[in-house]
């Protein structure tokens, strides 16, 4: 059963009327938006649209069900973009779903992830109250930072209805350099060197097979060629057959492809990681499609085996993961929890959850 509210008051009514609720945006993260037995789905796409956007301010306010694609299109018309680079744009991800899932993409390397750009939030708590947090100016210290709290909350603390973000100007020109290395170790070593260097990257991605670094530069077009040259020099001028420079439409197309995170059959899992943990994890992985974003801090991994195996692998590596998608509905409904690996629960979180959702309407557990 799905409800599709068109007004915030309808969200509030729905919350008060249902014992178990699951908000859904574009449904692009199936593992997070497929209801359990007793859950009523709240289709949030009815609450859609930009509410405030003054390009000169670099801030916008939109309803939570607004498709990211719509936002990006409007921003793009003014040379602006969402610096945290949410994935699944083409597939129909919404702003609310992106925040609730806590997802960022390759461009987060430059200025940060979704938590770093959210300014304000309105949400309906577990008792049906509409609550506001934060504001719509780029800096605000009044009250608790509930906007940040909502990042990654999976709809379990409240149902997002409205969001405010700050945005940045998109660089006038970009270029992407792909460099392959003889080994993963060599690629990691280069990654470390680059990450502490004075070069500034819009993206700094690592792929394991073949060991490749993908570096995206952005800025004024007149400076870009020199910067690219300096960068190649820094990398020891890799041989022609080990490097590839992308520019113009092919470059943009490449990144649109990355944004889809289309790794084929199986589960798609988000795993926060650190570069120092990559080698150990890699020894346990084989052909799974995957990509490490943001200088080795964010792994998107494709998993074909039973999820319990990944769960125990992550535990042995001291990592945690969030299952985002499964290719079949069975994959998804059979999941005990989208959280796998090391359990991150703690008293602080439990207390705050209970405060916002005392009747556990948003909890997937019975």
């Amino acid at each position: 059963m799905a409800l599709k509210p068109a007004f915030v008051t309808e969200v509030q009514e729905a919350v008060r009327a249902h014992a178990k609720l699951l908000p859904r945006g574009g449904g692009t993260k199936t593992a997070l938006s497929t209801p359990r037995a007793e859950q009523t789905v709240l289709d949030m796409t009815g609450l859609s649209g930009m509410l405030e956007y003054d390009p000169g301010e670099f801030v916008f306010v939109a309803q939570a069900g607004t498709p990211v694609a719509e936002v990006e299109k409007l921003l793009g018309q003014h040379g602006q973009y969402l610096p945290f680079d949410p994935p699944f744009v083409e597939a129909g991800a919404t702003l609310g779903g992106t925040v609730a899932a806590g997802l960022s993409g390759p461009l987060r390397q430059r200025y940060g992830g979704v938590r770093d750009f959210i300014l304000g939030v309105k949400f309906v708590d577990g008792q049906g109250n509409l609550i506001k947090g934060g504001g719509k100016v780029v800096k605000n210290a009044a009250g608790f930072d509930t906007p940040k709290l909502m990042v990654g909350s999976l709809g379990r603390l409240g149902i997002l209805t409205e969001l405010a973000f700050k945005v940045f100007p998109f660089p006038k020109a970009t270029a992407t350099l792909k460099v392959t290395f003889g080994s993963l170790e060599a690629a990691l070593e280069a990654l470390y060197k680059l990450a502490v260097s004075q070069f500034e990257f819009y993206a700094l991605d690592l792929e394991a097979h073949p060991a490749t670094l993908t570096l995206r530069l952005g800025g004024l077009s007149e400076a870009l060629p020199v910067r690219l040259e300096r960068l190649l020099g820094f990398l020891g001028n890799p041989a022609e057959d080990r490097r590839l420079v992308l520019e113009g439409e092919p470059e943009r197309g490449y990144w649109r492809g990355v944004n889809r995170l289309e790794f084929g059959e199986g589960y798609l899992v988000k795993i926060p990681i650190q570069p120092k943990k990559i080698l150990a994890l890699e020894t346990a992985l084989s052909t799974q499609a995957r990509c490490y974003l943001s200088a080795g801090n964010l792994l998107y991994l494709n998993w074909l085996e039973p999820i319990a195996e990944l769960d125990s692998l992550l535990k042995t590596q001291g990592l945690s993961g969030l299952v985002l998608r499964g290719s079949t509905s069975h994959d998804v409904t059979s999941l005990e929890s989208p959280f796998i690996g090391v359990n991150l629960e703690q008293a602080f979180g439990n207390r705050v959850t209970a405060a916002l959702d005392p009747s556990r309407r948003f909890s997937p557990e019975p």
Partner: protein, 485 residues
């Protein structure tokens, strides 16, 4: 204080838990802790505890919980909103001796520090590796990471890379109930609700951070620091809007008005143009070729904004002087007036000019001078309202003026505080921004973490206890332990 509070019992237990010289309870020991950098408020704690280990902090918190006596963490006491104002009769937990750098991993670009570690010392420690810690509140040579975390402090260079919250990866925290939790992690990315994000900026109401993991950034290759002098504050405000709209993304954009220039110049001899009515500092940072190219655009945008003089820092020394002056400006204003109130409202950047004119008007109306020195790129105003507490009525007029400025910020679509926090000072203005329901929800979150409201009781929420502007008998006096004869 709640009825069940037992300060005498707490003091007895603390005396057993801590060596005598680190449990302060004599009047001369307590007096200096009665205020933070907002001296209009004072309150006397029943004791000041100076722990040297996390364990001692934990124990103190647990004893406070046991005896139901409110407590407050204190870093360097530089809060400008009464954040580190003691709770009358409560305990102050001074964290400045917990000032160790626990770990510095240049490769992973991480520093782990104790809460009393000084902000500037993080960058100093990271400097040999070409790294730095980005958030730079003007108080950075003094203020602690614990205090920065509690107030989500910002600074001149937070335009591009954000405030404290954007640079804290994790924290080990003792909750007011005495439980210890780990928030956040080691990665830049996280999973599940951003608990750490909620804790940062919670103004000490949710417990005490014992260890804090910070993210370090590589130092920019090149800085380009430009000074533009204007004959009006409005023009400087509009210049900021123009730079923002141009699509340039400077690392910092700051404005000082003539009073602030006068004070800062007297303090550090920065070499500012003294006749300017307003001074705009814009700093570009990044890769050299990029910065050099951006500098050309910046010059064009600035030229069109009508400055009467533009200067660019020739070398690092000159750059440092410019920033030293800017960062000393708040304190330096103490040269102009015995007392002042610093406000911290934010307005949309396109409304800066309008806001500044309105402040000027209010200043005339109330007959009090207002100095302005602020983070213009963020729209974060810092009007310093100058008054003389000895002149009857000036403080009250100043407070009215401050309130009107805050209301104006909210009316323009902004907020009552950008970085100094609500603390004690602005809590009565929270209803300007939030509905009773919003506040009730925050209160619910608060009480879930601190059911007895022990941690920094009475701050941030408008319904909190009023501060004690004068103090009564010391609890030890009441208990007959000390007397003041």
């Amino acid at each position: 204080m709640s009825l069940s509070a037992n300060p005498a019992g707490l003091l007895a237990d603390l005396a057993r838990a801590l060596p005598q010289e680190r449990l302060l309870s004599q009047p001369a020991q307590l007096t200096p802790y009665e205020s933070d950098a907002l001296t209009a408020f004072r309150a006397r704690p029943c004791a000041v505890v100076l722990p040297e280990t996390s364990q001692e902090v934990l124990e103190t918190v647990r004893l406070c919980a046991k005896h139901q006596v409110p407590f407050l963490a204190r870093g360097s006491g530089t809060s400008l909103s009464g954040g580190s104002l003691p709770i009358d009769g409560g305990v102050v937990i001074g964290l400045n001796r917990l000032n160790k750098l626990l770990k510095l991993d240049p490769q992973e670009r991480i520093a782990v520090v104790q809460p009393g570690f000084i902000n500037l010392h993080v960058s100093n420690a990271a400097a040999p590796y070409g790294l730095y810690y980005a958030p730079d509140p003007s108080s950075q040579p003094v203020s602690t990471i614990g205090g920065n975390l509690a107030f989500n402090s910002g600074g001149a260079h937070c335009l591009k890379y954000g405030m404290t919250s954007n640079h804290v990866l994790g924290a080990k925290v003792v909750l007011p109930t005495g439980e210890v939790v780990e928030l956040g992690g080691e990665s830049l990315e996280g999973l599940g609700p951003d608990w750490l994000g909620l804790f940062v900026g919670s103004e000490g109401l949710m417990g005490i951070a014992l260890e804090i993991r910070l993210r370090l950034l590589p130092k920019p290759e090149k800085y380009h620091t430009l000074l533009a002098a204007y004959d009006s504050l409005g023009k400087a405000g509009e210049a900021v809007a123009a730079v923002v709209a141009s699509g340039l993304l400077p690392g910092a954009m700051e404005i000082m008005d003539s009073l602030a220039i006068e004070a800062a110049e007297a303090a550090v001899h920065a070499g500012y143009p003294m006749e300017a009515r307003a001074l705009l500092i814009v700093e570009l940072e990044g890769e050299t070729p990029q910065v050099e190219a951006e500098a050309k655009y910046l010059s064009e945008v600035i030229a069109q904004s009508g400055p009467y003089e533009v200067r660019v820092a020739k070398d690092n020394d000159e750059r440092m002087r410019i920033w030293k002056g800017r960062k000393a400006a708040f304190s330096a204003v103490g040269r102009l007036s015995p007392d002042y109130i610093v406000q911290d409202g934010v307005v949309p950047r396109s409304k800066l000019g309008q806001a500044l004119s309105e402040i000027e008007r209010l200043s005339h109306q109330h007959g009090l001078r207002v100095a302005n020195v602020f983070h213009a790129g963020d729209g974060n105003l810092h009007p310093l309202i100058l008054y003389d507490g000895k002149i009857a009525g000036e403080l009250e007029r100043g407070e009215v003026l401050a309130g009107e400025i805050l209301k104006m910020c909210v009316a323009l679509g902004g907020t009552i505080t950008g970085e100094h926090g609500v603390g004690m000072e602005k809590k009565e203005y929270m209803p300007e921004m939030f509905t009773p329901q919003d506040l009730e929800a925050m209160h619910r979150i608060h009480r879930s973490v601190d059911p007895d409201e022990l941690s920094n009781r009475g701050k941030m929420f408008p319904s909190g206890e009023a501060p004690a502007l004068s103090h009564g008998a010391h609890p030890l006096e009441q208990a007959g332990v000390i007397s003041r004869e």
